[in-house]
C-alpha cells in the first residue's frame, strides 16, 4: 500500500510540474483589454457585427486602429463601456429592431397552392415563387424563427412570424434569412408600422389578402409627414414616427398597427403596452 501511495503521488507531482511548466512556457499573450471586452459582449456569436463571433469582434476592437463596427445586440450600454475601456468617446448606436412587415396569416391571406416539402421558407419560395398569392407576404414556415439566436421570433398558430420588440437585439440574421425580404429593420422607438410588403395594385391585393395595403393614401392625407407611398405601398417615415399612430384607426384595411397597443393577431407577445426604456430590454 505504501508503494502505491508513493508511486501515485510521484506521478501526480510530476504531472503537476509538467503542466505548470507548460502553462508558463507556452502561454499566449493576451491583451487584458480583449478579455475585458469579451466579458462585456453578449456571447451569442450572432455575427451581426460582421466579425467571426464575439472573440473576433473583441480582437478587432483591440487590434484595429478604430472600432470598425458596433455590436447591435450589446446595444449602447455595451458600446459605451467598450469605448470607456479603449479610452475613446462614447459611441451612440441607435437601437434598431426587426419587424415582419406583414399580417397575412392563413386566415387572412390566400394561398395559390398547397405546399408539400421542407418546412423552410427559402425552399418553399423556390417552388413557383412560394405558396402565398401575395408575392411579398410572410410564408410562415419558420425559417426566421429558427435562425434567431435570441429566441425573439414566434410563429403564431396561423403561421405568421412576429418579432418581440423586447427580445430583438437588432442583429439582422432574420432579415438575411427571409427569401421575400418581408422583415425590415426599424428604430426601436418607432412602434407604428405599415405591415404590408406587397407592391400590387389595390384591387389585386384585396383579392388575396384582407389586411394588405391598397395604397389608398388615406394615411398620408391624415398625417402628411409620417407616411410616404412608393410603388403602391405605404411606409412610415421613421424620422416622424411619433406622429404616425394618428393614422392607425383611419386605415381601411387595418394594415397599419401600433405595437404599443397590440401585436398582430395570434401573437403571444404582450409587453408592448408598457413603454420600454433602453435599459429595460433583455440583453
Amino acid at each position: 500500500m505504501i508503494a502505491s501511495i508513493l508511486s501515485l503521488g510521484a506521478i501526480g507531482f510530476l504531472a503537476a510540474l509538467t503542466l505548470g511548466f507548460a502553462a508558463r512556457k507556452f502561454a499566449v499573450e493576451v491583451d487584458p483589454r480583449e478579455l475585458a471586452i469579451l466579458e462585456l459582449l453578449p456571447g451569442a456569436n450572432c455575427g451581426a457585427c460582421g466579425y467571426p463571433g464575439c472573440s473576433g469582434y473583441a480582437k478587432m476592437v483591440v487590434n484595429g486602429d478604430k472600432i470598425a463596427a458596433t455590436c447591435p445586440p450589446g446595444g449602447s450600454a455595451v458600446m459605451d463601456k467598450i469605448a470607456n475601456i479603449m479610452g475613446l468617446a462614447p459611441i451612440t448606436a441607435e437601437p434598431k429592431v426587426a419587424v415582419v412587415m406583414c399580417q397575412g396569416d392563413n386566415l387572412k391571406a390566400k394561398d395559390k397552392y398547397k405546399y408539400l416539402g421542407l418546412t423552410d421558407c427559402r425552399a418553399a419560395q423556390k417552388v413557383a415563387d412560394g405558396p402565398k398569392q401575395c408575392p411579398g407576404g410572410c410564408l410562415g414556415l419558420g425559417t426566421c424563427e429558427r435562425v434567431c439566436p435570441f429566441g425573439a421570433i414566434e410563429m403564431t398558430p396561423d403561421n405568421l412570424a412576429v418579432i418581440s420588440r423586447k427580445k430583438c437585439t437588432g442583429c439582422g440574421k432574420c432579415v438575411a434569412s427571409c427569401p421575400r425580404a418581408v422583415i425590415r429593420m426599424a428604430p426601436l422607438d418607432a412602434t407604428t408600422h405599415v405591415l404590408c410588403n406587397s407592391h400590387d395594385k389595390g384591387a389585386l391585393v384585396r383579392k388575396y389578402c384582407e389586411v394588405g395595403c391598397i395604397a389608398c393614401q388615406i394615411c398620408k392625407k391624415q398625417v402628411p409627414g409620417a407616411y410616404e407611398i412608393e410603388n403602391l405601398l405605404a411606409t412610415v417615415v421613421y424620422e416622424n414616427h411619433q406622429d404616425a399612430p394618428a393614422a392607425v384607426e383611419k386605415c381601411p384595411t387595418r394594415c397599419i398597427r401600433d405595437f404599443m397597443v397590440s401585436y398582430p393577431d395570434g401573437s403571444s407577445f404582450a409587453e408592448a403596452t408598457v413603454p420600454l426604456k433602453k435599459e429595460d430590454r433583455a440583453a
Binding site: 397552392y113 398547397k114 405546399y115 408539400l116 416539402g117 425552399a123 417552388v127 405558396p131
Partner: protein, 329 residues
Amino acid sequence: MSGIYLSSSPHVHSGETTDKVMRAVIYSLLPACAVAIYFFGLPALLILILCTGGCVATEAVCNRLFKSKLSIADGSAALTGILLALNMPPNSPWWLSVLGAVIAIVIGKQVYGGLGYNPFNPALVARVVLLVSFPVHMTSWTTPAPLGSGIDAVTTATPLGEWKTAVMLTGKLPENISAGMGDYFIGNMAGSLGEVSALALLLGAAYLFWKKIISWHVPMTFVLTVVVFGGIFWLVDSSRYPNPLFHLLTGGLVLGAFYMATDMVTSPVTTRGMIIFGFGCGVVTVLIRLFGGYPEGVSFAILLMNAATPLIDRYTRPRVFGTAVEGKS
C-alpha cells in the same frame, strides 16, 4: 386551381414507412416471444407486458414533457420494449422490467432527441445499466420449465456461465459442454427470455431478410467473426476453449447479431462500414467471453461499436460516381 399541391420532385413513393419497418421487426420477434412463454411460463409473459407497456408509456410521457408530437404510433418504443424484455432473465422482479423500460426510453433515446438521434441501442443501454447496477438479479437464471410439463423452475447457470466458472476453477471445459447442442438450438437452456432459442430467432431473421428490412452485412459478419475467431482459440487449445458451434448457439449471439446490432439508427449506413461494424462486434464479443470478467460480451461489444459508428461512417464513404478517390470531387 384550388386544392392543387406543388412540391419538389419526386411525386411517387415506395410506400415503405417507418411504422411498417418497426412492425415487421416486431412480427419477426413473435416466434422468440412464443418460445420464451413456452419455456418460462407466465413470468415471461409478465416481463414482456411490463417492458413493452413501460416503454410505450414512458415515451408518451416524454413526448408530453418535451412538448413534442406523440410518437408512439411509429412502433419504435414498443419494439424497444420487446427487445428489452427478451434481454431480461426469466424470473426477474417486476420492478426491474419497469425500471429497464424507463431507462431505455429516457436515457437510451429521448435525451438525444427521440427516434433517429440516439447513438446507442436503447434496449442494450437499459440492459447494461441494469446488469451493472443489479448484478445478482440480472444474472439469476432458471432452467426452462416447458408449459404443461410439470417441471419446476430451478436456479442454474447459463452454458456460457458454466464454462467461465469451469475454466476459472479448473482451466478446462466443463464435462457436459457439448451434450446439449440440440437443446441449445431449440431453446431448452438457461438464458434470458430471447437468447435461448436460436431456432425461433433465425426464423424471425429469415422473415426480416425476406422483407428486406435487414441486409446480411452486419449479422453475417458478426456471426462469422465470432465463429472464426472463437474457432481459432478452440483449435489452439480445445480442452480449454469451447468450439464455434457452442459460441453460436449459446449466449446472446443470435439475438444480438440479428436484432440488436442490426438496429438501423445505431449502425453504419455504408456497406463497408456495416462489415467493419460486424467484425468489430465479433472480435470484442469473443474477447470478453474468453478473457473478460463477464461470461457474455455481446451487449458490451455492440454498445462499443455503436460508439464507433460515426467514425466508421466517416471513413467508409463510398466512391462517388465519376471520382477516382473515395468521396472526393
